[in-house]
Symmetry: C2
Subunit: 394 residues, 2 copies
């Protein structure tokens, strides 16, 4: 009988696309979006973990948690000042990484017949969660080097109003160092997006996962600042401490707080891990640590950009990201990037082709490279291998 | 515009019902389902946390995690032998507590028009997750001191087949020391439930959260053993280490593994916390620790039962649970348990009335008491206060 069981129909349409599974020890992994392992603050975390357990364990090991439950939102609040976000700490909800924040918001905002709008290309992990939440249509909108184009959004929104058609419930954007392209959204467009959300009555999910990995130390206001009741701003400890802590946050508009509570009630998000991270932050100079991380990543980025330009020359175009994990390489000649990825894999370098990110799966002649996970030496080796693969393809 | 926004319609129907928010320092909290704080293995966990970070941090802080990712499923596998569960470790998935396992399974198995069947009374947290997953009907079935009654299930299933009506997708049961009643499901009924699942083609969600809190040290086979392809067996570290670690597990039938993967992909469940728990388990004699915990809880249970019987006498019936956190008190005279709970609250003792657990919200003359969270001295005080409240009510 169980063979004819009907599972959740949204599962069938959802796809998983992660990095490669190659376990060749000499493989250069430029596909994964991972931090650099040697930058993890191991000594400081080890001490914080011991201290947090010892001093706060009797509350942190309960569902309700210890002092971190109020400390972390206020710490996050302090970090968000530089992008103009000012909300009561009650609106800052600690989540299980940014992914959980996206998932909960998708589940709150979407009904089965609803549409979600995204950048093209966009982060496939977020799109998978919109699919699982039941969004019937994921509609992509083009981006350029200043982020998502406003006019196509505006035209389509107005067309729908005139035609009496349903509007999107949610626009998902990554304002800083977007995954996979590394581009950031201009201030002007942030204002325009906020105005559209207010005019047409939809929410913006502002996934600012890479905010703190800023290699210029210049910050611009979040979309949230221009429409605080229409924007959920999302962040994460994954990029600044380590993904393994599985902690992130969402700045939640007041109207949505009661819904978020329904997903949270009965337990705080990992109270024990919150206590460890909280103790680490209180014991250490985080900004100084982060400055070191960013200097390191900037150096890795420069190494990758130089290796690409020196090796490929006019065969590629690459936009230099001002922060984050990724850059996008566009081949100036028509290139079968799916096949290139496969050949590169055999040449000892893993990369992700654009088909994972673009809605039409064509890939647009692009590949995504992560410059943070591998050492500078390995990056140089990887780009050389990529070039060999490219030559073999052509 | 945002005022007319249509949120996920399943959120509207979902209710949250937790314990009391009373912060009077003298309040006796018999309402919360919490472990006893002084039993947390603080010293051992503090050392494990330090060691795990120091030795495994460079992998555990990544999305993919360290050695714990394979160690914990095999540890769980060893613990499940005593109830007859034998599956490849690949079928044991570590989750964010048992709640997450319930949530993911509900989302995999349910479509919007589907029905979930539960025990009456049942755990309101699980019912909330079924609601959020979109299950349109939660149908309760009566239990007695041997667990859920089989005949009403059988009759309704057969009636539906004859009438050509839809069958349930999922039956949710807590086989051991059920929340809120503390009763366990007999072996005979476990077999019968498994046979029904096989015959009618539905899944059983076997929430065995309290399995290890067994005060008799006698174990019976899990429902899973009688229908391994139709049963998802769920467990948790919350009751045996601490809820704050937010780690649990699900034994997943092979047909469902690919769906579970869609919810997991991109990251393991808290790899860093898994490493801490794994290191703790490897460094310590867990069974000896657990034996101490169970001896303590058995003593607390006995204290509560004696206090109840000595104070209330014939005014109540109470079934002595052989494990777990809870017992259920049934008043032999018709009693407004909602009002009793409110009066008790003012008398300095918090309890939960049956309306939180029974589908019809009537409460059936019952209240749920947790005997694990408070000390024996406080339990005695709490029961005395409850008696004063009862007298005031009548």
């Amino acid at each position: 009988m169980i063979e004819s069981f009907t599972y959740n129909r949204f599962l069938q349409s959802s796809r998983t696309m992660g990095g490669t599974k190659n376990d060749n020890p000499d493989q250069v992994h430029l596909s994964f979006g991972y931090p650099y392992s040697d930058l993890f603050p191991i000594q400081e975390l080890a001490e914080a973990a011991r201290q947090a357990t010892f001093e706060q364990g009797r509350s942190a090991l309960h569902y309700f948690g210890g002092p971190a439950i109020s400390y972390l939102p206020s710490w996050v609040s302090g970090r968000l000042e530089k992008i103009g976000i000012q909300v009561p700490v009650e609106q800052i909800k600690i989540t299980i990484g940014a992914a959980h924040a996206i998932e909960v918001m998708a589940r709150i905002l979407c009904n089965v017949e609803d549409e979600v709008w995204v950048e093209d290309p966009s982060f496939f992990g977020a799109i998978r969660m919109f699919n699982l939440a039941g969004a019937s249509t994921i509609r992509p909108f083009e981006i350029d080097s200043n982020g998502i184009l406003i006019e196509p959004l505006q035209v389509e929104l107005e067309r729908r109003v005139q035609a009496g058609e349903a509007l999107p419930k949610l626009l998902y954007v990554m304002p800083n160092y977007q995954n996979p392209t590394g581009v950031s959204l201009s201030v002007e467009r942030r204002k325009q997006l906020a105005a559209l959300a207010k005019k047409y009555g939809f929410y913006i999910l502002e996934d600012d996962a890479y905010l703190e990995l800023n290699y210029t130390n210049k910050f611009v206001p979040a979309i949230h600042t221009f429409a605080p009741d229409h924007v959920i701003h999302i962040g994460t400890f994954s990029k600044i401490i380590g993904p393994g802590v599985r902690l992130g946050w969402a700045v939640v508009p007041p109207a949505l707080l009661k819904f978020v509570q329904q997903f949270m009630s009965g337990s705080q998000t990992n109270p024990y891990m919150q206590e460890i991270v909280s103790t680490y932050l209180q014991n250490n100079d985080f900004q100084s640590y982060l400055d070191g991380v960013n200097a390191h990543y900037k150096d890795q980025r420069d190494t990758m950009v130089h290796a690409l330009v020196n090796t490929f020359g006019d065969l590629i175009e690459v936009e230099i990201p001002q922060g984050g994990f990724f850059l996008s390489v566009r081949f100036t000649q028509p290139t079968d990037v799916v096949q290139l990825t496969q050949i590169a894999e055999q040449h000892g370098v893993s990369v992700l082709n654009g088909s994972a990110f673009y809605a039409n799966r064509e890939g647009r002649n692009t590949i995504r490279l992560c410059f943070t996970y591998c050492s500078k030496e390995r990056i140089v080796v990887g780009i050389q291998r990529l070039y060999e693969a490219y030559q073999q393809l052509n």
